[in-house]
Amino acid sequence: MALDRFFRRRRPQQQGGADMPDLWTQCPKCKEGLYNRDLETNAFVCHKCGHHLRLDAAQRVTVLLDEGSFTQLSGAVQPTDALAFQDTESYPERLKRAQKKTGRPDAILTGTGAILGVPVTLAVMDFAFSGGSMGSVVGEEIARAAEHAARHGTPLVIVTASGGARMQESALSLMQMAKTTVALETLAEQGLPYVSLLTDPTTGGVTASFATIADVIVAEPGALIGFAGPRVIQQTIRQSLPDGFQRAEFLLSHGMVDAVVDRREQREYLASLLGLLTRREVSA
């Protein structure tokens, strides 16, 4: 697939941890120091080892959508502490911290836009917000995005990144697995395509609900994807796990995902695929 259409100018993004100058980011895999400007033009993929760095929701939108095409839908729905959940810290305090860190109400960003001209509704999970955990807000925003796509006749793309359900909302979090499925069925009944893009990491309740009932499931190279976490499994079976277990490539060979697609090729892949799957009306 030709990459040249991919390399257009990106909006600059802040990168680099506390120990690194703002101009540089260290590759978490090969430890190479990478110019942030180069990283951005390379879709945040390490030039040296090909490692796909984790993105926050805004970066994902930038990497995936045509420049300037994004219109945000999410934002009005805010989390609440229905259980008065208290552990070492209260749930509202945790939320406040995560909101401050990410600048959004919860671990989800949705909106509309275009991929190489193909209009889509897009939902992106934000791992930076509480490990991308799914509570009532994530569930509601995913559901609304699906319903928006159904109403406006666009395909839906969901980018997942989640450690699982949000403990602090207990059974209410669990119910989001069903809620999102209900909304996705509304989309399916319209004959509109839904593609999920599983990124590192996607585990727990997200894997066991909306992430894996997509018409086409695409995974990013090297992404950890599974239901149970690797440590829990290792203790259950009491032996070490095979190399690459629960990684995107492992899942491909076990028939669970349709393709593992390099981040630099995802726009072309999705645009072509969504074009092909857009329902052509056959005479009734």
């Binding site: 009005a76 729905v77 805010q78 989390p79 609440t80 229905a82 259980l83 959940f85 208290q86 552990d87 070492t88 509570g135 009532s136 807000v137 569930g139 509601e140 559901a143 359900a165 949000r166 403990m167 909302e169 207990s170 059974a171 209410l172 979090s173 669990l174 119910m175 989001q176 697995m177 069903a178 809620k179 499925t181 209900v182 909304a183 069925e185 727990g204 309740g205 894997t207 066991a208 609900s209 909306f210 992430a211 894996t212 009932i213 599974g226 239901f227 149970a228 440590r231 829990v232 499994i233 203790q235 259950t236 079976i237 796990l241 095979p242 277990f245 629960q246 076990h254 028939g255 669970m256």
Partner: protein, 324 residues
């Protein structure tokens, strides 16, 4: 019958082993430990046949969790034996295997033809191990989907008895798509055009429980629990200490009255004084009556209404505020 001493000793050693590992590594091993620990308790109780004293007054959340795991608490098949005739177990997912942790088939529930879906923990040590303490593999959920297809085709209402600590966290389960299988089961149940009544009869652990839990009416027994994570799991994450499970149980609000208040269940089914294990017959009568009442109510609805009503039920659930 007295349990074989060897089995008990072996299980105790295994539990200690796992606890040490959990302590040392700070990992959450409760999926592996808890069922074994419950089995140890049961075997000990069997060797000392006196039942533990029933808690007085309103039990705490943690006491209810213990009641949900009490030795002798009726399993799904115990309810079926009390309430059903002509249960014909249908086996297999027609793709890979047959899972003894999630079973089912057509039966008459107090005379009403239904399709049963049952998470079955096992009734003795051997069958508990065979049935992985009710923790299903992907094959179990795929069999459930197949049986729901049959229920839909033949207009059989579905009765699903939920009793699991969660889906089985095994290597092979992951290889064969545990998450995929659960998601498919949830979707299939949501799309059914027949009545679906679910009862949490013991433990309702996470996605593995929800997989057969998305019906028109979700009921729960008085001392059952239902949560996104077990109290031990939550305690391990929060305090790095599974023994803080009683605190986690409070925080998670996982009891039947909590769930009724949160709008997650329609009804709490009363248990005999002291817990279902003290009078399985009476517990079964209460479950039977409640399910049959809801079934008769739902059977008056059209297939379309059943599906859209169920969808609307789950579309609503969740707690958030909205700015304008």
């Amino acid at each position: 019958m007295t349990a074989p001493i060897d089995t008990l000793k072996e299980l105790e050693a295994r539990v200690r082993d796992l606890e040490v590992t959990a302590q040392r590594t700070g990992q959450n091993l409760d999926a592996a430990i808890t069922p074994l620990r419950a089995e140890v308790d049961r075997l000990r109780a069997a060797q000392n046949p006196a039942q533990p004293p029933a808690p007085k007054g309103d039990p705490t959340r943690w006491e209810r969790v213990q009641l949900a795991r009490a030795p002798g608490r009726p399993t799904a098949l115990d309810y079926v034996e009390h309430l059903c005739t002509e249960f014909t177990e249908l086996h297999g997912d027609r793709r890979y295997g047959d899972d003894p942790a999630l079973i089912g088939g057509p039966a008459r529930w107090q005379g009403v033809p239904v399709m049963l879906l049952l998470q079955q923990k096992g009734r003795d040590t051997k069958s508990k191990i065979k049935r992985r303490f009710g923790s299903a593999n992907p094959e179990g959920y795929r069999k459930a989907v197949r049986l729901m297809d049959l229920a839909d085709k033949f207009g059989l209402p579905v009765v699903a008895l939920v009793d699991t600590q969660g889906a089985y966290p095994g290597l092979e389960a992951e290889e064969r798509g545990q998450g995929w299988a659960i998601a498919e089961s949830i979707r299939r149940m949501l799309n059914l055009r027949v009545p679906v009544v679910n009862v949490v009869i013991g433990e309702g652990g996470s996605g593995g429980a929800l997989a057969i839990g998305v019906g028109n009416r979700v009921l729960i027994q008085e001392n059952a629990w239902y949560s996104v994570i077990s109290p031990e799991g939550a305690a391990s994450i929060i305090w790095k200490d599974a023994s803080k499970a009683p605190l986690a149980a409070e925080a998670l609000r996982l009891t039947a009255p909590d769930l009724l208040e949160l709008g997650i269940v329609e009804e709490v089914i009363p248990e005999p004084e002291g817990g279902a294990h003290l009078n399985p017959q009476q517990a079964a009568q209460a479950v039977g009556e409640a399910v049959t009442r809801h079934l008769r109510d739902l059977m008056a609805q059209s297939p379309t209404d059943l599906k859209t009503g169920r969808a609307a039920r789950f579309r609503r659930l969740g707690a958030y505020t909205e700015t304008t």
